[in-house]
């Protein structure tokens, strides 16, 4: 009897243990399949420190917003950054609001810090995972780009209801994985 209870409890725990990662997957798959696509320019991360082990550290260009009353915002607070797309097809933030906006594309983020009338965003786009052995080549490709002073790296992000999932990292219009493969073949 006691044994049966334990097995029952264990099955319940197993279920929770499986459902947790599955729900992470489903939420992201849903966003990737049904979300709206945006292109964000990435700021040149220090090229000598772009790789932290298995991923590329990302920073979105212009990840801050001027606000009228900076007292309204404190560090760690949840904000909604409204997104606008320019003529070249790149997305940029237009305003930070504290209420969930309706009918407009936005990204849910946290306030990293507030300074001189600007709110700096802690965006959920901060890393891109790559294979460890590709890292040196990727770093080389990344550094060449920043040497030519061309900021042509961008990420493609799918957004649904303010929830963002990265689809790919691109350098000069090419997926970083392909750029790395070419570099290795050379």
């Amino acid at each position: 009897m006691k044994n049966r209870l334990i097995v029952g409890l264990f099955l319940a725990v197993c279920l929770i243990q499986v459902v947790t990662p599955l729900s992470m997957i489903i939420k992201r798959e849903n966003t990737l399949n049904n979300g709206q696509q945006f292109k964000f320019k990435t700021a040149p991360v220090d090229p000598y420190d772009a790789f932290r082990g298995r991923y590329v550290a990302l920073r979105i260009e212009n990840d801050y917003l001027p606000v009228a009353d900076q007292k309204e915002f404190i560090k760690g607070q949840t904000v909604y950054a409204l997104i606008n797309v320019d003529d070249q097809g790149f997305a940029a933030f237009t305003a930070a609001v504290t209420q969930r906006p309706k009918g407009k594309p936005y990204i849910k983020a946290k306030v990293r810090y507030v300074s001189q009338g600007k709110v700096y965003l802690d965006l959920p786009i901060d890393r891109y995972y790559m294979e460890e052995k590709a890292a040196p080549a990727a770093e080389r490709v990344y550094r060449q780009r920043s040497r030519r002073n061309k900021q042509d790296a961008y990420v493609i992000v799918k957004i649904k209801d303010g929830f963002a999932v990265i689809e790919g990292l691109y350098i000069a219009g090419q997926r970083i994985e392909d750029a790395v493969k070419q570099d290795i073949e050379k």
Partner: protein
């Protein structure tokens, strides 16, 4: 009586009967009185350690294999492969629960394996979907998913992993004590298991390990989460925590026998002495109010409430334990555990004069070390005498270095303290020898 002593006695019994010192009836009565000693043989302990280490290595190996050539796999394949180790771990645990429920080695090993696989699954999914680096959330999710295993399987290693995990989690919020303070209710989840393990005699390695991890994790978590809302309150919080360890180490339900197996008592006592010694210096009281370890902004009002509640809870607990020892006339234990009470007194007195706290703790340490020496002499305990003399020596030497006395006198003090040690030990050794 300790298990080892009973075992020794049982070994001696046949010889004693053979030499007619005891008759068979008396030997049987002795055996009935002490009962069976279930021995946890060395092999069983090795099996548990080996099984757990094996589970660890296999788990890590699987993660490495999966991470290799990861790029070339489709997202679907990666997802399946991320969940697979988790399900494999669950299968293993289910098999142990059904087929080997009594085996400590299988239980701990499989529970450890599953605990690691849960983390591996979430980490692999985080990679596939480039999930932002929120270490705190990752650790907390992982820990909450594994802690039920401790209770379902009566396994201690998931609890150990959990304690270390939630400590790391509270560390990620070291500048946000309102969140870090949640460590305490999270840690409280392990207490029933902890008490259960302490009550069991058969397997002491486990309770030692649990107490050790508990003591270390609580020390770290206290520095992450407490005392940040009112600067200087650490002078009460840390003595209260170490005194609680110390008192709990003396509680009757704690059946651990040898000294190294008593981390609660040992670390509690050493921590209390170090704190009390630190409090004998003027500097630690002088700059008290300026010190709130690196926290820049002030937290007050509602946000400070959890900090205050936990602090008060710890202080209440230590006062109750202190009172309990007074009531039972455990004077020596109570004296060692008096540090938090004195710290509270000193905390309030320091405003009228900075010298009062310093005097209190100098007198206290003097009384404590002398009491240990006297007690040791009375009970013929070398350990007690030497610990008392060591404490006295540290106190005397510190005070001499504080003062502007010249080197010759300082040197003389060292020599006198050294002679004191030698003479004390020689006298006691003779007395113990004479008693025999």
């Amino acid at each position: 009586m300790s298990k080892r002593a009973i075992k020794w006695l049982y070994q001696e019994l046949p010889a004693l009967v053979a030499k007619n010192i005891l008759n068979q009836e008396a030997a049987d009565r002795i055996k009935r009185y002490y009962g069976d000693v279930k021995s946890s043989s060395k092999i069983a302990v090795m099996l548990i350690i080996g099984g757990t280490l094996g589970a660890l290595l296999i788990g890590l190996g699987i993660i490495l294999l999966l991470a290799h050539n990861w790029e070339d796999l489709s997202r679907f394949t990666r997802t399946v492969l991320s969940i697979a180790p988790l399900v494999a771990g669950q299968g293993l645990v289910a098999w142990v629960l059904l087929k080997r429920p009594g085996s400590q080695a299988f239980t701990e090993g499989s529970a450890t394996f599953l605990s690691l696989m849960v983390g591996a699954s979430i980490a692999l999914i985080s990679q596939t979907y480039n999930i932002p680096g929120d270490t705190g959330t990752f650790i907390l999710t992982w820990m909450l998913l594994i802690i039920p295993l401790t209770y379902i399987m009566n396994a201690s290693l998931p609890a150990v992993i959990y304690l270390i995990g939630i400590t790391a989690w509270s560390g990620t919020y070291w500048d946000d004590p309102a969140k870090a303070v949640l460590f305490w209710p999270l840690a409280a989840i392990t207490i029933p298991h902890f008490i259960w393990a302490l009550r069991r005699e058969i397997y002491t390695l486990r309770s030692t390990m649990l107490s050790l991890v508990m003591v270390v994790c609580i020390s770290f978590a206290a520095s992450f989460s407490l005392g940040k809302t009112s600067p200087g309150s650490w002078v009460v919080i840390f003595p209260a925590i170490y005194a609680t360890f110390y008192f709990l180490g003396w509680q009757k339900f704690n059946k651990i026998t040898t000294n190294w197996q008593r981390p609660l008592r040992l670390i509690g006592a050493v921590g209390l002495f170090i704190l009390a010694f630190q409090f004998t210096f003027r500097g630690s009281w002088q700059y008290l109010d300026r010190y709130a370890y690196g926290l820049k902004r002030n937290i007050s009002g509602f946000g400070a409430l959890p900090d205050h509640i936990i602090t008060l809870a710890i202080i209440t607990m230590v006062i109750l334990l202190f009172y309990d020892n007074l009531k039972r006339k455990n004077w020596t234990i109570a004296l060692f555990g008096a540090v938090p009470g004195l710290a509270i007194l000193a905390y309030f007195l320091r405003e009228s004069s900075i010298f009062l706290p310093v005097i209190i703790f100098n007198v206290y340490l003097l009384a404590l070390s002398l009491s240990r020496i006297i007690l040791g002499a009375r009970n013929n305990s070398l350990a007690s005498i030497n610990s008392g003399m060591l404490m006295l020596a540290i106190l005397i030497i510190a005070r001499f270095f504080d003062s502007g006395i010249n080197f010759i006198l300082k040197g003389l003090v060292f020599i006198i303290v050294g002679i004191g040690f030698l003479v004390g030990n020689v006298i006691l050794a003779r007395r113990i020898g004479g008693a025999k």
